[in-house]
Structures are given as structure tokens and as C-alpha cells.
């Protein structure tokens, strides 16, 4: 009997939390917003890009592992999360190859090239989205569907195609900040998700619900979303625009709750996290206000991702050494 005894290093107790479980919870948390996106825009326009994006991410990761003879890592569910995040941030009705190219870029360039899960510097989904944004700006800014609850100012949208509609941030960029307020109950409609936008980003309410679930499960902390929001609000105040509009429009909630909180690409130290999140929020606001793109979430977060190795050097207060 004695030769069967296992000798190992303590602790001999481990929490039930594992990497795949965490990733699955994130997928669950995104489902309400995803389902609403599909209901709002229709199965054909919203579900297809979403499914293609997830399949592309998982497929490209499997391909990479096989090609470079690495252990297959798709079982950790992280590629599914990347696929969900990318798919939810695409315009509904985009061409079928957009999620495939985006997923390939996200996984190969954004994740596997750095060494796979946990090693990447930039959020893979945002890398994919950024490449799509700069390569096919027109496709990424065109909404091919007229949703059942259209924005009151659709007449301002690109007049060429009758089925296109505009997002609030697109209207702000094209026609100025005040024109967007012609929509009645704008803030309320933005909050619950009755205004066009990217597939999974239209309802701040459902995204916050998903985030609350992650908080409850102890998967994320509240600090990053809060400071992201503070950064965005600060810029909005300086720009003399409504902070709530900036929080609920576009991908701000998605970015704050699901993109900036990405484990691998956010800092580990308490102070670093706050600086990172505030910076990402502020940059989002600045790009929206002064930049060339209507939306700033992608580049705001990616820029701060680059600073994470630096922010990780801010050590926490040492035990036993009182502040002077």
C-alpha cells in the first residue's frame, strides 16, 4: 500500500475554480446581450456573424496548435470567449468573411503569436476588430439592416442604401453632437437597447446584467469597469457632452465590463488596474470627441494594453512597512 502514497507540495486543497469554468461563465454572461442582438436585428443578420466568429476563433486556434505541434488548447474555452467578443462587436449584416478574417487575425496575430493563452499583450478580440476597422472602414461603419425600432434620425444616415441605418456615435461624428438628441427618450432607449449599434453592444442593461453575474461569481472585480467609466465621464464633462450618453452609446459598457477586464491584458496590481482602466476610459472619450473614428473603445483599450507591463511594476504596499 505504501508505494501508492502520493507525495506532493502543499496546499493539498484547491478551489473548484478552473480556467475552462471561468471562460464558460464569461460566455454565459454575454448570452443575454447576444440573444437580444439576434432578436433585435434578426437571426440572419446577427446570428450568422456571431456563429462564424466563434467557429473561426476556435478553428484557427486548433489549426495553429496542429500546425505548430503544440498541445490542443481549445478545451480551455478561451477561443470561444474571443469569438463571442469579436462577433458581438461586429455590425449586423456584415459580409460572411468579415468574422472569419477577424477571428483569424484575433487568434493568430493577437494570441497564438505571443505564445497562446495568458501570454498575449493585446486583447485578441480587439486586435481582430482593430484590423477590420482600419482595413475595411466602410464595411465596419455601415449598418445594413433597418431594425424594428429605428433611431429617430435615420434620415441623416447614408442615403444610398435604404436598408442602412446609423449608430448614435456615427451620427455625432457625421452631423455633430446636438443632432443625435432629436431622438426622443434617447438615453432610455440606449440603456435598454432600442437603438442600432454593434450586434451585442446595443443594450447597456443586458451587458450590465451579465457583468453583475460575473461579479457575483467572483470572476471579475468591479474596479476596472468603474474607473473606465470615470475616465470616460471625465472626458465627456470636459467636452461638455452628456456623460450618460457616452456610457450607454457604442461599445463603452462592453469595453468596460468585458474587454478592459480581460485577465491577460489588464494589470495585476491594485494601483496599476485603476490607472489602466481610467486611461482606457479617458482615451475612449478623447478618440470619440477629437479623433477620426466615431468610436474609441477599441483603440482606447489597446493603447492601455501596451502599458500593462509597465503598470505591473507598481508593487502593492508592503506588509509591515507603514506609509510615512
Amino acid at each position: 500500500m505504501e508505494e501508492r502514497l502520493v507525495v506532493s507540495s502543499p496546499p493539498h486543497m484547491k478551489s473548484a475554480v478552473t480556467v475552462p469554468w471561468i471562460m464558460q461563465q464569461v460566455v454565459f454572461a454575454l448570452l443575454p446581450a447576444a440573444i437580444w442582438g439576434v432578436v433585435f436585428f434578426g437571426v440572419r443578420w446577427a446570428l450568422l456573424p456571431l456563429v462564424l466568429s466563434v467557429l473561426a476563433c476556435v478553428g484557427f486556434e486548433a489549426l495553429d496548435c496542429i500546425l505548430f505541434r503544440r498541445p490542443l488548447t481549445i478545451g480551455d474555452w478561451s477561443a470561444v470567449v474571443t469569438g463571442m467578443l469579436l462577433g458581438l462587436s461586429l455590425p449586423p449584416g456584415c459580409p460572411f468573411w468579415i468574422p472569419i478574417v477577424g477571428g483569424g487575425v484575433a487568434i493568430l496575430l493577437g494570441k497564438q503569436m505571443f505564445g497562446g493563452i495568458g501570454q498575449n499583450v493585446f486583447n485578441p478580440a480587439l486586435v481582430g476588430r482593430a484590423v477590420l476597422l482600419v482595413s475595411w472602414p466602410k464595411i465596419m461603419a455601415t449598418w445594413y439592416v433597418r431594425p424594428p425600432f429605428a433611431l429617430g434620425v435615420t434620415s441623416y444616415a447614408t442615403p444610398v442604401d435604404v436598408v442602412t441605418s446609423a449608430t448614435p456615435l456615427g451620427i455625432v461624428k457625421a452631423y455633430g453632437y446636438t443632432s443625435v438628441w432629436e431622438t426622443p427618450n434617447l438615453l432610455f432607449r440606449l440603456f435598454v437597447g432600442l437603438v442600432p449599434g454593434c450586434i451585442g453592444e446595443i443594450s447597456a442593461l443586458l451587458l450590465l446584467l451579465g457583468f453583475a453575474y460575473l461579479l457575483f461569481r467572483g470572476i471579475v472585480q468591479w474596479d476596472i469597469p468603474l474607473f473606465y467609466a470615470l475616465g470616460l465621464v471625465a472626458v465627456a464633462v470636459v467636452a461638455r457632452q452628456n456623460p450618460l450618453f457616452h456610457l450607454f452609446a457604442g461599445g463603452a459598457i462592453m469595453g468596460a465590463c468585458f474587454m478592459a477586464t480581460d485577465y491577460t491584458t489588464s494589470p495585476m496590481t491594485p494601483k496599476g488596474r485603476l490607472i489602466f482602466a481610467f486611461g482606457a476610459g479617458a482615451l475612449t472619450g478623447i478618440i470619440r470627441w477629437l479623433g477620426g473614428y466615431p468610436e474609441g473603445v477599441t483603440f482606447g483599450i489597446l493603447t492601455m494594453n501596451a502599458l500593462v507591463p509597465l503598470l505591473d511594476r507598481i508593487l502593492p504596499q508592503r506588509f509591515g512597512v507603514k506609509k510615512v
Partner: protein, 441 residues
């Protein structure tokens, strides 16, 4: 009631319900005992007996000249059959005195202390503690008389009795606090007098509410102010540094000791054993341990003689339901796995746990989730220290405070990637200390 605690740390399933209600059972003396010549933190002992000698219960059989050492006494009367290398529960192998039980009840006792302990001089009390072979019975086994000898420039104002017992499964301290409160408070008086403290605290986690209720009225009769402090049940609340932070709000400086902040901490069972010696003259020759785990037939809290072999204990507990895959000395968070049943109980043994499963977790790469950072009670960055250890960057690990690590295991417990962080940090600490000893790099 407001519960005191410290920041960060982890909430564990404590599994104490298996044994917490079971009164202490005295285990009959075994056929023989094996007493390793090191059972404490400090210098190894030299045997005072040789092969063939007869010894009596309570007789001193080994001692050392070093200050940081505690003598060893025979737990039964019998014949020394050898001084030989034997399996040691934490050190692999070590020289040990092997004694065969002769069945007689011959014993040697020390002179008990007079009732009015507060009139005795501290120096003679410290000598009394040393002669009894007392070490911290919480697991670290630091010689008690050393703790009670603060340098002149570091006055002690507070004494903390550690009844936190934060390790899951272990309930021996719980039972001692309930069943041996009188001895424990007598031991507390000796230690408070010896170190010169003005006030005493007994810290107990609130999952031992019965102990808190039992002790609160008893401490009113002590000749110095004593407070029973209910603590939040959180791991590692029983760590000296975190106990002091929770109760007094003081932080022990890096590399420092509790006496640097005017505090002495000792375990409740040490106090109880010391109180018994003061009353009956019996030195530290037995202790209460918890035997638990899913594959043990008879679990519980047992008073066992030091040196009793694990196989004899297992036989006393009627063996196993299923063969154990993992045997741990101590709690599951910091305990040491055993490779054989031929190891003896030593002074630092708080229990043995027998598990039918190897209790492992699948390993993934670090996903930088930050759980280890958010839970580390020492406010370290375990993920970073683990990586530096893996890459052999020990100077960088030292710069990132790896020596502050108390090896509590909170980081590895919460890690979703199942990374052996404590193992890596221990390795880094060992390397840093080795390089320091060699003088520089």
C-alpha cells in the same frame, strides 16, 4: 459581536464538522516509540541516553547547549533499543531515540509550580518552560522559552493566545480550549508573567463559537486584563502576523518577529500543556492531535504520546475504509505529505489526514487572472514570483520580496490554472537564502 480580521486571504470549506464534536480520547501507550532528535525549529539535540539504558516516563533523554532548542523527554518507561536513523515527518530521515515499552508505570516528575505565579521571577519561569521541552504546538514548533525571552530594548505589552486554528479538518485546539481551559489559563499566566506582557488576548475564529462562549467568563478571574477576541473565520487567520494585525492592528515588519511590535504569540495547546506541567510536573511528552480524512474509519481527537508511529495510530483507529492515496501531517493548506506509515508523532504534529484521492488539479498556463494577488495576505505578486522562480531569476525574486512569503498556500488554493505557486516560491526562498549564506550571488 464585531469580528476582527485582516485584509485579503481566502474563505475555505473548513471540514471541521467531522471531528469538532468528538471529545479527546486518550490513546493507550504503544509497544514502542521513536523520538527524532530534532522536533523543533532550531538546533538538533544530543542524546543523554545510550542503547540499552532504561528510561522512565518523563525522564529527559536529549538536550542541546544551543539557546534555540528544547529538550526531549521519554513518553513512556522502557529500554532504549537504539539511536538510529528513522523516517521523519518533515525532514525525510533523522537520528532518533527508539524506546521499547516495558509495561511499567515508573515515571519522573518535575516539581510543580506554587500557586502564586505572579510572584515568581520571570527568569525562573523561562527556565521552567525550557526544562519542560515546550515548543509551539500549533505546527511551527518554535521553542517557547525563546519566545518568552524578549531582548531588553523590545518591551512586550501584549500576549496573544492563538486559538484561531484556521487549517481545515483540524479540531485538536478546539477540543483543548473546551476541555482543558483551566490548564490553558494557568499556562497563559506563566507565559504572561515570563514575558512581562500587560494584557492578554485569546483569538478564536467564530466557527468555534462554543469555545468563545466557554472562555469568555473564565478569563475574568485572571490577575491581568484578558480579552477573548472573536475572529472572522478566514484563512490564514492563525498566522502570527495576521493574528496580530487582526487583534491589535499592528504589522510585523518584513523579516521581523512579533516582539518587534511588542507582542508574544503562542498556541492554546502549548499553554494547556504548560499549565499541566505547572500543576502536575509532567513535561511535554504527549499532545492532542486530530486524525481525519475521508478514508479513516475512526476519526477524532486523540491524546497521543510523542514518538508513536503512524501505523500504530492507524491501527488504533481500526484502519482504513479504502487505502489512502495521500497522507498529510498537519492541515491540508500547509501540511507535509508522508511517504510511509513508519513516521512518528513529533511535537509539531497537529494531526494526520488520510485521503483516498490524490487531491490534484489540472494545470493550465497562467491566465493572469490576478486571484493570487487579490488573495495574498502578504500583499505579494505570487504569479510573478512563481515565474521568476521558474526562470531561475532569484535576485529578481528577492527584489520582489519573495522572502516575505509565509507559505500559507492561499495563492495556490485560488489559482484556476492549478499552478504549484507555493512550491515555486519555497524554491525561490530556499535559493535566495542559500545565496545569502554564500555571501552575495
Amino acid at each position: 459581536m464585531k469580528l476582527r480580521t485582516f485584509p485579503q486571504g481566502v474563505f475555505l470549506p473548513h471540514h471541521k464538522e467531522d471531528t469538532a464534536h468528538l471529545p479527546i480520547v486518550r490513546v493507550p501507550l504503544p509497544q514502542g516509540v521513536v523520538l527524532p532528535l530534532i522536533q523543533h525549529t532550531g538546533a538538533p539535540l544530543k542524546p543523554l541516553v545510550k542503547k540499552g539504558d532504561g528510561v522512565k516516563r518523563g525522564q529527559k533523554i536529549a538536550d542541546a547547549e544551543a539557546f534555540v532548542a528544547a529538550p526531549l523527554h521519554a513518553p513512556l518507561s522502557g529500554k532504549v533499543t537504539g539511536i538510529e536513523e528513522w523516517a521523519h515527518p518533515t525532514l525525510g530521515k533523522f537520528q532518533a531515540v527508539v524506546i521499547e515499552n516495558d509495561g511499567s508505570s515508573e515515571e519522573m516528575r518535575y516539581d510543580p509550580l506554587p500557586e502564586d505565579i505572579e510572584r515568581l521571577d520571570p527568569e525562573s519561569l523561562r527556565l521552567f518552560v525550557r526544562e519542560g521541552g515546550f515548543v509551539g504546538l500549533g505546527g511551527a514548533a518554535f521553542p517557547t522559552h525563546v519566545k518568552l525571552s524578549p531582548p531588553k530594548d523590545k518591551p512586550i505589552d501584549s500576549f496573544i493566545l492563538n486559538g484561531a486554528e484556521c487549517e481545515p479538518y483540524l479540531t485538536c485546539d478546539h477540543r483543548v480550549m473546551l476541555e482543558r481551559a483551566e490548564d490553558m489559563l494557568l499556562g497563559l499566566r506563566i507565559m504572561v508573567r515570563a514575558c512581562g506582557a500587560k494584557k492578554a488576548y485569546i483569538g478564536i475564529e467564530d466557527n468555534k463559537r462554543d469555545c468563545i462562549d466557554h472562555l469568555a467568563p473564565l478569563v475574568r478571574d485572571l490577575p491581568f486584563p484578558t480579552e477573548v477576541v472573536p475572529l472572522r473565520t478566514k484563512y490564514p487567520q492563525g498566522s502570527e502576523k495576521h493574528l496580530i494585525l487582526a487583534i491589535l492592528g499592528r504589522e510585523v515588519p518584513p523579516g521581523g518577529l512579533p516582539l518587534d511590535v511588542g507582542v508574544v504569540v503562542n498556541n492554546v495547546q502549548t499553554a494547556a500543556a504548560l499549565g499541566r506541567m505547572a500543576k502536575e510536573g509532567i513535561p511535554l511528552i504527549e499532545r492532542v492531535i486530530t486524525l481525519s480524512g475521508d478514508c479513516l474509519k475512526k476519526r477524532g481527537n486523540f491524546e497521543v504520546p510523542l514518538g508513536m508511529l503512524l501505523e500504530d495510530l492507524a491501527a488504533f483507529c481500526e484502519g482504513f475504509i479504502t487505502p489512502p492515496r495521500k497522507i498529510i501531517m498537519g492541515g491540508p493548506m500547509t501540511g507535509i505529505t508522508q511517504a510511509t506509515l513508519a513516521v512518528p508523532v513529533i511535537k509539531g504534529t497537529s494531526g494526520f489526514l488520510f485521503f483516498s484521492r490524490p487531491l490534484a488539479k489540472r494545470e493550465y498556463p497562467c491566465i493572469r487572472c490576478g486571484r493570487c494577488v487579490a488573495h495574498c495576505p502578504m500583499r505579494l505578486l505570487p504569479y510573478l514570483l512563481g515565474r521568476l522562480a521558474e526562470e531561475g531569476l532569484f535576485a529578481e525574486a528577492e527584489a520582489n520580496r519573495v522572502l516575505d512569503c509565509i507559505e500559507c498556500g492561499s495563492c495556490a488554493y485560488v489559482c484556476p490554472a492549478g499552478i504549484a505557486l507555493v512550491h515555486l516560491l519555497k524554491l525561490a526562498k530556499f535559493e535566495v537564502m542559500r545565496r545569502r549564506k554564500r555571501g552575495g550571488k
